[in-house]
Symmetry: C2
Subunit: 280 residues, 2 copies
């Protein structure tokens, strides 16, 4: 089938590579405000042609929206206006309640499938796209009862072609869970980077000493604001809840140290160790 | 030469493997309170023989102390009591001021080299030892002017055999820098794990959704209290300084979100992105 990918960056580009590899896409249109991305995606053989939004949407069987979540929410109603009942639209955003609510009463709502592939890196642009990115990761479909059976089926086929395992959830629950599982990790990582940059003025020392533990906790702090500000904005209430809880947890470590209560410190650490049983 | 390794866990075991591989050790004694570790280390060919502290210290050219930092500080004076001026002792602890001060006035002080290999994982025990662990990482030698020239030279040779690049620093500076580069990462990771475990009661959901970003920020939360409580205890003042700064940085994200000041949020993130220029 013909697939149009709106947003030819890390996520859209990685999807395109894999869907072509799997033979599910025989022609891929790329749509991107950034002409540099179109040129790069063409030269990397990620897309077959660059085109504009209207042409791309009208001439594809399956449309994937892979732009920052605020842009996706604004785009989606117009995309649905353009399509027929034979076409299907899927997004790939990290927040789901906003976009689902934006098209709740749209006459073509049932042609849309709300999707979140749980994968990303701190890099962006078509140059960082990798076909195996999604393999083994979770793909979440939200509010599936609001999608037409054939649209849902096609989106599932696409997600499975990405080698993801599917999870179904309502959009509100999704946004609560991702605040814990993904969004807060980015905030702590940004704050950690700012802490080090604030106090450790000798950049050469950071670079020389940085251990693998530091690099892995700080890696996400390289993620771009263009993607993350809209996520935090759309998931503000949940992110604030988690952030407050996280500050409370950090204060317990502070109190244990200040009071030299090392039994309590050990208890806090042993409790955190329980994550071993959950994450391999 | 004959090497004795006190503490045959992740660090001691990994050193033993590499030093044997490089041919710098032709016989390795293992000393460990945990007999299970000795058996494991023997069967994994990490050590040639298990022995007691006194025999091991008296019969080796080079002695490596690789036990938790509080135990190391207690052990070191007794180890120095046992050795001659032809032997050298090196430690491998993550805090340095405490151990250096503990032997400041010891008559054999010059036979000791204070060392910190900047590497570790969340795993422990001889079974997790890997010979290539230290390759390309920083090895810090503290207060080198307090070590005899020949002891220092031998310790440098050992560190270079581990394929580490050497950095020299005084112990107080080391403890400030590692509070930023390593210790705070562990606290944020523990606190993040506790945040998720507190709020996200559905463990199955954590497991299913966990993305690579979450796994990498939370990985360090698997690290054991036996190692980390003593580190936080010995580096209390510096760790508290950094922790306070970190909470301040998190509060800025909280304020930006609460006030819906997304320009400020973008500024905070862009500032954190500067870490890109420092860490590859």
């Amino acid at each position: 089938m013909k697939i149009s990918i709106i947003g030819t960056g890390l996520i859209g580009g990685s999807m395109a590579l894999k869907l072509r590899e799997k033979g599910i896409a025989d022609f891929i249109y790329g749509i991107d405000n950034n002409q540099q991305h179109i040129s790069e995606a063409l030269s990397l053989n990620i897309i077959d042609a660059g085109t504009d939004l209207e042409y791309g949407v009208k001439n594809a069987d399956f449309i994937i929206i892979a732009v920052p979540v605020d842009a996706a929410r604004k785009l989606l109603p117009g995309v649905l206006d353009l399509i027929s009942d034979k076409q299907t639209v899927m997004d790939a955003g990290s927040t789901k309640a906003g976009i689902v609510n934006a098209v709740k009463d749209h006459p073509k709502r049932s042609r849309f499938v709300a999707f979140h592939p749980m994968w990303g890196t701190e890099n962006n642009g078509p140059g960082s796209a990798v076909s195996e990115s999604f393999t083994g990761k979770a793909g979440v479909i939200c509010n599936k009862e609001e999608s037409a059976a054939d649209a849902l089926q096609l989106a599932e086929k696409v997600a499975e072609s990405l080698d993801m395992h599917l999870i179904y959830m309502n959009a509100e629950d999704h946004d609560i869970h991702t605040a814990y599982i993904s969004h807060i990790s980015h905030i702590t990582s940004y704050a950690l980077a700012n802490t080090v940059l604030e106090k450790e003025r000798e950049e050469e020392t950071i670079f020389q000493l940085a251990s693998s533990g530091f690099s892995s906790t700080v890696r996400l702090a390289k993620s771009h604001p263009e993607m993350w500000v809209p996520i935090f904005k759309q998931n503000k209430e949940n992110v604030l809840d988690v952030l407050n809880e996280h500050i409370t947890q950090l204060r317990k470590f502070k109190a244990a140290l200040e009071k030299e209560n090392y039994e309590y410190l050990e208890e806090l650490i042993s409790n955190a160790n329980r994550i071993r049983g959950i994450l391999r």
